[in-house]
Each structure stands twice: as C-alpha cells, then as structure tokens.
C-alpha cells in the first residue's frame, strides 16, 4: 500500500502543513510525494530528506507553477493508478485541487481528516467540529485532505528518498487540462511572522480591537512570543486585518501551544478553528463571553488596558 501526497513548496522549502499530511499517510504505509511547478531542485532535495518519504516525484512545468486546480487535478488523476491513497494537506491549494481529482477518479473525497483508523477508515469533524464522524470509504482509491493541525509534521530530516521525474504522459495530461484557466495575479500579504497554521503561538484579535490600527498593539506581544497574528471573522470583515488571518471553521484551523484570544466572543465558528490549542488564554471585558468556557486562563479586562500591561509584563522576563 503506497500513498501519493501532493506537497507544497515555497522558496525551496516544503510547507509545514504538507509535512503533516506526510505524517498522516505514513501511518498506513509507504509515502511518495509529488512536487509540481518550476525550479524544483531545491524543494526536491528538501522533500527527499523528510522522514518517511520513500520517493519524490517531480512534475516540472510552468502550467503547474500556480497550483491551478485544473492541471493539478489532471496530474494527480494520471498518477493515481499506482496508489491506494491520494492526499494533500487541507490548505487552500489542497482544498481546491483534491476534490476535483477525486471526482475525476469517481471517488468521494474525504476532507479535512483528523484521524486515521485504517486504510479505508478516517475521522473527520462535521458541524464546525461539534461532532466527529468516523467514515469508511468504499472507493478503490481514497482521496483525502488532511487537517495539518491534527498531525505533528514529519521531521524535515532523516529520510533519503529517491527522486524521479513524473512520467511524460502525466505531464501531458496536466498541460492539456490547462487551457481553460489562467493565473492572473497574487496579492500576498507579506509578513515576517510564522505562518498562522504552523506557529507555536497565535495571538488573535476580534471585533473588540475596534480598529485596524489597534492591531499594532498586538505586534510587540507577537514579537516577544514568536507568534503569528490571527483574527476572528468579524475583525476580517471589518477590514482590520486581511482575509488570510481568519481563524475558524471556514478560515484557518490552528492548534498552537498557546492561543491568546483578545476581544473575541467565542462563537462556535471561531472555536472550531482553535479549540484544539494546547493552552488557551482569553482577554475579554464581558465575563459572560463564551470564549471563557474553553479558556485555560481567562482575564476579564478591557483589552486596551490589559494588552499594554501584558506587553510590559512579558518584557520583564
């Protein structure tokens, strides 16, 4: 039994969510990984040394450079015949392409798995994580996306996989599928901070932050803790921070060592994205706020007083 895991690369490195997907599939057997795009040599070297990877397949072509679903799904479908499982992390790219590949294979995708019970049986959250369904697939090829926060990433070193180019026929299938869509532009919100889905600490602000410039108050704290800055949907919808900061059922799912929720009420859709964090801190002026029910340490306070105090207290250390 061998799984094919599509992995994402950035500046020659493999993204952490992809390493979590490798770890999830490694529970079942051998893992081959697929790298797609251009300039893959550094990424291929990085992928080959990830623990648990037996083979690296590279699909080098410009049509694959932007993870467009049409060529990527065609590529995965062309390669799927050799595999029992086709998987990827439940990132934007994974969620975009894997269900498309599944349908091309006439399989029902199993999205966002948080547990592996066997070769055909997986656990996945439903209803914003208020229930966990154990599902058994009857499809011959199981197509999965993996919730990265639920699986500690495979170690970046320790492996010594072989690398080979994907068969030409698979690349041709990808190219043939690329005629109807084209990448136009990116608007990437640059940040020096760790990626939200991979950070050890996340400091999130909600509607209580009241304005975009107040998010600056969170920066010195995030600096001191090496944290990513997240947000509630209300903070994103209000334009305080960009869309990619949204933590929750329909945004990014995080499970850091420490999650600090500031001015966030704790709606179920928000909790769905952070309630598996190891330690949760909530700062809210309303002692009835539901966020306190999941918080290990709740502080009832006005954030505009508590946040500068927190920064000063952390500076003492």
């Amino acid at each position: 039994m061998t799984a094919l895991v599509f992995i994402e690369h950035e500046n020659g490195a493999i993204r952490q969510p992809s390493r979590s997907a490798i770890a999830a599939l490694a529970k079942l057997g051998d893992v081959h990984v697929l790298l797609a795009g251009t300039d893959l040599s550094a990424a291929a070297t990085a992928a080959a040394s990830i623990a648990g990877v037996a083979k690296v397949l590279t699909a080098e072509d410009a049509v694959l450079a932007d993870n467009l679903a049409e060529p990527l799904a065609a590529l995965l479908t062309a390669l799927a015949g050799d595999y029992s499982h086709v998987a990827a992390a439940a990132t934007a790219a994974g969620k975009n392409a894997l269900p498309r590949a599944a349908a091309l294979l006439d399989a029902q995708v199993i999205s966002d798995i948080v547990g592996v019970e066997g070769a055909d049986t997986f656990i996945r959250p439903i209803y914003a994580g208020n229930a966990l369904a154990t599902v058994k697939s009857k499809d011959p090829v199981r197509v999965l996306t993996v919730r990265a926060a639920a699986f500690p990433p495979a170690e970046p070193t320790g492996g010594s996989a072989s690398t080979e180019a994907a068969p030409a026929a698979a690349l041709d299938a990808a190219k043939a599928a690329a005629a109807k869509s084209r990448h136009v532009s990116y608007e990437i919100h640059k940040s020096e901070r760790p990626e939200l889905s991979a950070a050890r600490v996340v400091v999130s602000g909600g509607r209580g932050m009241a304005a975009s410039e107040n998010f600056k108050l969170l920066e010195p704290i995030a600096d001191k803790l090496g944290a990513a800055i997240g947000a509630s949907r209300a903070a994103v919808d209000s334009g305080f921070v960009p869309n990619d900061r949204q933590v929750g059922q329909t945004g990014t799912i995080v499970a850091p060592e420490l999650y600090i929720a500031i001015g966030i009420s704790g709606a179920i859709q928000h909790l769905a994205g952070m309630k598996d964090s190891k330690v949760i801190v909530a700062i809210n002026k309303d002692e009835e706020a539901p966020i306190f029910q999941v918080a290990d340490y709740g502080l009832v306070a006005d954030l505009f007083k508590a946040v500068p105090e927190l920064d000063a207290e952390l500076a003492k250390a």
Partner: protein, 249 residues
Amino acid sequence: MKILVPVKRVVDYNVQVRVRADQQGVETTGVKMSMNPFDEIAVEEAVRLKEKGVATEIVVLSIGPAQAQDTLRTALAMGADRAVLITAEPNPEPLAVAKLIKAVAEKEGPSIIILGKQAIDDDMNATSQSLAALLDWPQGTFASKVEVKGEEVEVTREIDGGLETVALKLPAIISTDLRLNEPRYAALPNIMKARKKPLETLTPADLSVDVTPRLETLKVAEPAKRQGGKKVGSVAELVEKLKTEARVI
C-alpha cells in the same frame, strides 16, 4: 446569460448541534433549518449579476428533503427566477450531488454555476470542485470578487497568505467565500411574489443518477470537552501562570 445556483438546506448556523444518543448522526428534530450561509452569498452574487445586466436568468436548485422547497422559496424571494428541487433523503454525498447538478446543468445550459464553498453541516468543501471536474469546466473557488469580462470571468480567491486572481473561460464554476458580498434580506412583497414563481420537482431516478453513498458513517461522536473556565485576577498572574504552570512561555 443563465446562472445556476445550487442551495442546501442545513441546520442553522446559530444552533449548537448535539450528537444523537445512538451515535449515528446529530439531533435534527425540532432544530431550526436555514439556507447554507455560503449559498446565500451565491444567490446574492447571481442576483447582483442580473441587476448589472450580465445575467438574464437565475435558476436555483436544491437537493434534499421535500422541505428544501422552503430554501428554494427563500432564494426566489432574494431574486432568483425559477427553482428545481431534486428530492433525495438522506442528503446525498457531494460527489452524487455534483452528478445531479451536472445533469440539470446539461438541460439548462448555464454559463456560470455559483455554489457555496462548503456546507456548514458536513463541512466537506467538495461539491463545486467535483462538479467542475465532471463538467470539465474551470473553477474559481473561495471567491471574494467576481467580474465577467467578455468570454471570461475573473475570480479573486481567498488563499493561504492572501488573494489570487484567476481568469476562467466560460462556462465556469465559482464557489463563494465569506467576503464576496453581504446577502440581502428578502422584502415581504418579494416573499409573496416568490410563492408564485415556478418550482419543478424531480428525483435522482428522473436524471438517471446513482446516489448510492461511497462513505459509510460508522460513528458520530462528541469531541473531547475542554476543561476551561479558570480565571486569573491580573495580567501579572496570567504571565506567571503561563510560565510556571502551563510552561508555554
């Protein structure tokens, strides 16, 4: 240009769902049901395209129990022209739903199909991509902006780290994200008018689609409860506890 918008009837987003005692699903009896919020955004986008003169007709489609009629009436009240209900119980899986939508699309010939990016009950996030695959159409998922430009539609998508714009040749599939628009509330006169709009009812058999599930649900369980609720009296105490008790800083 015709637009097709599939909509799903789901447990309302405000309901705190409970797992059934027999662990075979969640409690739905007596629970408030509504249109999936992402589908409301899809209907709204279609109506705006019609108001701009880009679209000429909006057909809404629901797959589910007979009561999904209410969901379709809501969409008609928001501004859709016509509705199709495919009765199927329990709700088919996303792949089967995609096959049913495909069958309707082949009859209706829409230029754009707009769907919600995920249904908030099964959280599968799969129907739009599966449908795009089956039709061999391009897809613009997680859309926060849609612009029809001649033979193409430009879709700005919410991705990890920011936004991406793609151009898709029509016909195309779009799935909505939260920031695409703010859906309107239907005004009372429109709700009255919606009652008279045409609603056709079909079954999967009428469309020769096999909806046999591919996934068997072995168990539905409640997640482990967090032991939260502790309070601290001051910022100093908080930092102290994080250092010495939780040891996370």
